[in-house]
Subunit: 156 residues, 3 copies
């Protein structure tokens, strides 16, 4: 078993089956030593989007719930990455995460929500998990989800 | 004539003159084997933005019209790509599309709109057209357009 | 002194201390010859976000003020880039800027705001500063800022 997967086990994280392509796009693409992962929604281990994660920050959704959602997104990002790279020990660096938070214009703490994804990357990959990041508040996301996270990785 | 351009012909698609730089940015940049294409609006073959594509999903714009708009954006992405790479047969992979859909907070089917761009890439490039993708609903876009698509490609 | 830093001096631009990591992400990551810079807010040289840059275009914020804000974001992008690459003369190309403008749905001139960042890149890097770009209007940004800019660079 790989070191990164050991670490996932210690954290009690079971990677879900990566969501199958539902259209003419795929979960992740490798180009050279870069893997680009599609924006992932906060589906749980059964592939379900909890009703408590549908809505906007500043309205129906509380920051702590959305932060947990961002962590779920990040787990799904790792699942898509693994489907392309095979062994997660071949990940050299988390290069970038993009965080999209469905929010009202008045909600200004989108960065704290996104920390749920950033923290997970460092828990799993250690220092190699420290990444560049952009976080924005958006009008809406697919299926009404409150958070979506995309990723870029350097791999062996 | 190249295979990809043959395919464009079969699809009845005439690539427009790529929009000239209107400021201190350009339509696309090559870096190594990667080409990054600027966000493209749904200009038609004459370079016009139809009034029917100005507004938001969930308000003035119907999903089918916006899906056609996303296809137009994708055609403009390919035109910018061709201006940099020359022969489109040198495209090895559509790595990523980013889709921005101007939408009300209540509109949750932004992914279906973006399929207009994703489908076009596979029609034109075949399996090499299957890409990673992030789609978000945004407050607004340049010129009030309802959709904007950016791209990343691997080329020879 | 490097040529690019000479140019910054001629422009009267003092690069700020790049913002320290406030969470499990960093200001910029190098992967191969690519540097990805995290989304930067319009902090001034003292690291403060002016109250006049908190709000949305189409509401509290005027376009000219936001354009100046976009220029500040771009200066902070360059500061983060320098922290990773050392000598700014090693920058071969500004590959891409992403511009996020907090705006009401009615505000349609987000591109003009973003020109504040694009113009700065060409003032500093000359033709190598011409980049691919995507600009979108968003619901909100960290700390309520009216503009955020991220970057991708090719370096030696």
């Amino acid at each position: 078993m790989s070191k990164v997967e050991d670490r996932l086990g210690e954290l009690g994280i079971v990677l879900p089956q990566p969501a199958a392509p539902v259209a003419n796009y795929v979960g992740a693409v490798r180009s050279g030593s870069t893997v680009v992962v599609s924006g992932q929604l906060p589906f749980d281990a059964e592939g379900k989007l909890a009703a408590s994660l549908v809505g906007r920050l500043g309205a129906e959704i509380a920051p702590d719930a959305a932060k947990d959602g961002a962590r779920l997104c990040a787990i799904n990002v790792i699942a898509q990455l693994k489907a392309v790279v095979g062994d997660l020990d071949r990940v050299r660096r988390v290069v970038r995460l993009g965080g999209f938070i469905a929010a009202t214009p008045e909600f200004t703490t989108v960065a704290a929500v996104m920390n749920g994804a950033s923290d997970l990357m460092v828990e799993v990959f250690g220092d190699a998990g420290r990444h560049a990041r952009s976080t924005i508040g958006v009008a809406g996301l697919p299926m009404g989800a409150c958070v979506e996270v995309e990723g870029m990785f350097e791999v062996e």
